[in-house]
Symmetry: C2
């Protein structure tokens, strides 16, 4: 299989697993429905793709990585639902469809986020094959998703709307807000291959930074239809982004540099490094 066939194969497997997971949510419950609505709305599934790809590149257990990766997608989805709420970004469109609170109301959307975050851990405990490895993954996951990771990054991101921040502060925000879950995706693959949680961090840290720089570039240059969300929002709100702080050309140069670093870090995958290299390149070139 070439890269795009393999990527499609991974994505199909991930979407099947997420559909199966959503079918296990309790019936006749409006919040179950809201959880499934947002979880199954599509998206690139980049976190589970990284989890599975890293596991396979290291000769690890792909099914175990898929389990962890689906939990990561639940956490990612909860963070989007809460981020979109009126008291946060007040977004009405996500992945091309109405955001969770527009569709179900704020109270149920809040609970849908809480439900997905909690279900991520329930899902792991129900589906993981190896308790000790799953414990290690939950340890890393909770530290990356919480106040020391993603939630901490979101907090500082709100602060950065009020005060202009410098490039180092912006990088620190994104290393946590976006980067922490990308690291957890790498950890999912590494742990499923019997390695330490931090084994693939060299790869995922650069990948995460490249991902965020590209997001900021797409906010300016992207196609709203392909992106499935409102663009120029950050630009119009005068929020600090890689583009507003560095200018478009320098942002692109840094995107190239982070992608190069990610590709170099793929040496840890030895002879199976091709997919992870192509994945880094695909992130550079993506249109949504």
């Amino acid at each position: 299989m070439n890269f795009s066939e393999k990527l499609k194969d991974y994505t199909t497997k991930i979407n099947k697993a997420l559909l199966l997971a959503a079918e296990q949510f309790p019936k006749n419950n409006i919040v179950s429905e809201a959880m499934a609505y947002s979880l199954l709305a599509g998206g690139k599934r980049i976190r589970p793709v990284i989890a599975v790809a890293v596991a396979e590149s290291l000769g690890g257990d792909v099914d175990e990585a898929l389990c962890y990766g689906c939990a990561l997608e639940m956490i990612h989805t909860y963070s989007l639902i809460h981020d979109d709420l009126p008291c946060m970004d007040n977004d009405t469109l996500r992945r091309g469809i109405p955001t969770c609170h527009v569709k179900y109301g704020e109270a149920y959307a809040l609970l849908a986020g809480d439900g997905l975050l909690t279900y991520a851990f329930e899902y792991i405990t129900k589906n993981a094959k190896d308790k000790a490895r799953a414990f290690d993954f939950m340890a890393y996951l909770s530290s990356m998703a919480g106040i020391g990771g993603m939630v901490g990054g979101q907090t500082d991101d709100i602060g950065a709307e009020k005060v202009k921040v410098g490039i180092d502060a912006l990088k620190s925000i994104h290393a946590r807000k976006t980067g922490a879950l990308i690291n957890a995706a790498g950890a999912a693959g590494a742990i499923a291959a019997g390695k330490d949680a931090s084994f693939a961090e060299g790869y995922t840290k650069s990948l995460g930074m490249a991902f965020q720089i590209k997001d900021d570039i797409l906010d300016v240059e992207g196609d709203a239809e392909k992106m499935g969300k409102t663009l120029m929002k950050d630009m119009n709100s005068e929020k600090s982004t890689f583009v507003t702080l560095l200018g478009l050309d320098e942002a692109k140069a840094q995107l190239d540099a982070e992608t190069k670093k990610a590709i170099e870090a793929c040496e840890i995958f030895g002879t199976r490094k091709d997919f992870c290299i192509s994945l880094a390149k695909a992130m550079l070139e993506r249109e949504n």
Copy 2:
């Protein structure tokens, strides 16, 4: 030690452990501060008390139960923060002080709830002594706290504001909304004593139901100052409660019956049953 000395001893230990936990939150972060504000605002600490009491009554590892119990208190606190938000109950007073969003604003309160929920799992993975037992507890905890438990109960509770529900539906809501975490507290103690998660469910199910009936009675008969929150709220909103559905006398009769069932279930604790019996009686007589 008599019952109230022992209860005070447990509560002191629990508050110390929670303070230590809050000191580990990242510094210079407004959401860390909001998390600590709500977590350390006091409260009865009933869930960790049950965890520790059940463990000790079964001759188990009290420190391990304390670890699980503190995680439960974090989850309980997150649920209060989110419940108090304007899109939910819109409460301004909790445990005698301004609610989290009144003090820190909605966005940070939302994140503080997310942070505490996530930190509950991080806390367990950082502090538990036995990985296999901690895994089992996280499995039970996540199923009790999530859409099949507490979050599901909160969902149906919102639905019950719009449509009058019957007594069976009300019991089902509370078995999940309040009862599920009380069960998890019993499971914390049972697992820390090497028993199955469900070992103490006979005790905790009745205790949880008694707890909720008493709450509804206190909403009508309680002293607002002792309770530290606005009373008669449910009565004024015409929400279904044990009191509105059954009347005050029958609600009190059912409270007595559930307390009696909880006390009978204490036989599983053998010669060490006294504290858990007294705890059930104290819940019946509490003024806040």
